[in-house]
Symmetry: C2
Subunit: 522 residues, 2 copies
Amino acid sequence: MINGTNFIGSTPSGQGEETLFSYNPVDGSAFAESFAVAGTDEINQAVDKAVSAFQAYQSISNQAKADFLDAIADEIMALGDELVERACGESGLPAGRIQGERGRTCNQLKMFASLVREGSWVEAIIDTAIPDRAPVPKPDLRMMQIPIGPVVVFGASNFPLAFSTAGGDTASALAAGNPVIVKGHESHLGTNELVSKAILAAAAKTGMPEGVYSMVNGGIPVGQQLVKHPGVKAVGFTGSLRGGRALFDLANQREEPIPVYAEMGSINPTFLMPEKLGEDPEGLGKSFAGSVTLGVGQFCTNPGLLVGVKSEALDTFSKSLADGLAGATGTMLNAKIAESYYQHRDALLNEAGVAHEGNTEKAEGNTARALTAIVSASAFLENPRLHEEIFGPFTLLVVCDSAAEMELIAAGLQGQLTGTLVATENDLTQNDTVVKNLQQKVGRILFNGVPTGVEVCPAMHHGGPYPASTNAKYTSVGTTAISRFTRPVSYQNWPDRLLPAELQRDNPLGIWRLVNGERTKS
Amino acid sequence: MINGTNFIGSTPSGQGEETLFSYNPVDGSAFAESFAVAGTDEINQAVDKAVSAFQAYQSISNQAKADFLDAIADEIMALGDELVERACGESGLPAGRIQGERGRTCNQLKMFASLVREGSWVEAIIDTAIPDRAPVPKPDLRMMQIPIGPVVVFGASNFPLAFSTAGGDTASALAAGNPVIVKGHESHLGTNELVSKAILAAAAKTGMPEGVYSMVNGGIPVGQQLVKHPGVKAVGFTGSLRGGRALFDLANQREEPIPVYAEMGSINPTFLMPEKLGEDPEGLGKSFAGSVTLGVGQFCTNPGLLVGVKSEALDTFSKSLADGLAGATGTMLNAKIAESYYQHRDALLNEAGVAHEGNTEKAEGNTARALTAIVSASAFLENPRLHEEIFGPFTLLVVCDSAAEMELIAAGLQGQLTGTLVATENDLTQNDTVVKNLQQKVGRILFNGVPTGVEVCPAMHHGGPYPASTNAKYTSVGTTAISRFTRPVSYQNWPDRLLPAELQRDNPLGIWRLVNGERTKS
């Protein structure tokens, strides 16, 4: 059951007059419930509660924090079909996809629970004293990561569970010991409320401090007020370049600037190398058609740019790709995204030198039609508008005259989440400069396969140089995402029994530490 | 011998009309040589050379990079007395101090050489494939830190060697695999030239690519042009809040924002706890007088704020401190700093409720007189101007009525490099809230001792929440400083023999890695 309130800590609150509705993108119908937009007082109360919760939450035991994260996963599963139906209804995504995403969301929560329980994530470094060192004694220094304070999370439209209310940003911020305030995504207000209730139920069951989690609804002004609040210490965001950059700018203009970890998408360039392409151009065309249309092309890792050298095989690939996309349609996440897809795609089709075949007519309602277009490398190189992301089931094939043109394209790219080499090993060694240039632009580099599909594991980097993200050093997926919401502190000559357990002489938690230059658990 | 040119890569260059001179702060006399300010073309050439050098330098062997760093240390030592005399002449610091700082500078270079030679600093994480996992195979993912590209370094006036031309920023940026462009500090132009030549000699001897190091002279416009150049990927800075914030703002306004790691000083609060203070108030007063006047108070970690609860012991401490400071004078680093010291100190003395004893008269030339002032906790709490750093041999003693007022002061502080508890263990447990509040504000927390003296080691954190630095996650001292100038990249399903050695199956470098969740060298 949906109430349409904000949650200021555990307290439902809907003081404002202004309301929002959520819509089913399939037929454009509104859901019955109205959602109260949070007012200034409610936002301030949420941050105040988070600041206050931080005093206790920052130093609760690893075990208690891990139990909280596990309990969130359990509570999400306990929502059962109500959550799946609502998420499908608000996103237009099929039940199988939402069930899979729910599994991924719970796995992420459990992964961070395990990480916290194990304990080595604090990166303890210990240099013991040398009291008789000349000319001055060497002090005892012990460093570890500590939480930073309240974190504001802006979820994504395209993953209403895994990159939203209880997604990777929330899970990693809570795991690090920070209270979280979620700004509910306007595209899935009901889903957000259900998941928020699951988080609050888990917090209550595991005895977490009041204010460890709050959720407020609203548009841009609500988000801005949160980011400007002095009590907020970091922001996690997944969405558009425009949205992410606006928050980044706002956070940097604060008297005390705070980090905004924004993952803002990418065109995910794929280079089709001649030897590999020649093996099965038709099959590769089909495979990329599948990747381009996955989730109606609404993935951050959607392959929006394909690059190959003019050849018969490339023609075959191109035709197979176009055939695979012809007639492929799907409901987009919301009306704004559908409108934006056609608008940006059509603008690109009108750029000089861009050719295409297939049906470009706008489909009914929020339905997107998949499409591919072709442009020469020279036209691509001189037109930065062709480098911009078209969010949806579209990809641009760039045809080079030579391998040297491929190198120029790799060198001229903006920052990207991923780069893919469709290649044999021989192709890689033959095109070393393309590989080197591409590596400098991306957060993840793939040898064959497709970039869609982001494994959740320690070695995943889901981020990349700007404009893929606002900070190339950090990932929003995988265990290292936790480090976005921590900072180091060094204890000098601190009494052993008053140190955090992670830094005590006897290593009571049995974690990995760097002690006098040696990695050890003892 | 000083030529007064810039170095565009290894090429001396002095095309501009505009010149700078460097001065001896002791008598205000100018050194003979004029230094050419770099023009737009020279700056662009320096960045172009760095971009081009990066293509080779980013992937040279650990051994070669380490040899380069060691060679810089050797070349600096080979400068002999010429360097010591020039650095003393340009800074007003005594020869013993400069010799010590030279040793520290060389040790830092060698520390990063060892770090790079050992190799584990790349934080390799490996998750191997599970090809038969359902519903989708798990890919092979391997992540490591890679260099980011040309780094611009702005040195500090107060450490003309250890935090300047070949200081920690340059050493860590080069160690990570990035070319460096130093903007020479206007306060020690000759020292900077000598050290730049040492770096270039080392680069030539060890066969580093042309452009791996450049140095340009000039004022604010030269610095701004460097930070705005699209080829520059990060900035290291040590200096004032105003200077650091200006560069931070400029870098964030770029089309592609880049990180500015600015260490901007601090008032380094020290809390004098009753039990410990009672043990030896007079001795503690003397000890803090020594810390306040060390290097004429021109340390980032100078204890500028002392906080205690009203007591007889605090009176004794206060008198001993004042006595220790009375008559203490010293030459400041340059005329601007000396002028600024008196101006800011005198403004603070005129704030409501601030009392002082002792000679406040401006001394001759660039000589600073040490001083302490006293204010009540209530006056301090309501006046943010009393929280600002006075760069020089000055400290403000805040007298609290109660332990509760101490808690408020700790809670109301801005971000700090350090916080010190002069305390017994019993004092710490009795004042748990002060400790907790203080820890949230600082990068390093000390149990007794004085904050001046920054050990160079892995567990050192020399940074802190804003305004101590622009990024609380990073240190400018110690081995982890290298991570400011790297970013992670993940390789997915990459052929083993084409992976960087750090990520290959057989671990040919024998480094520590996290493999399928286990830390191992095998």
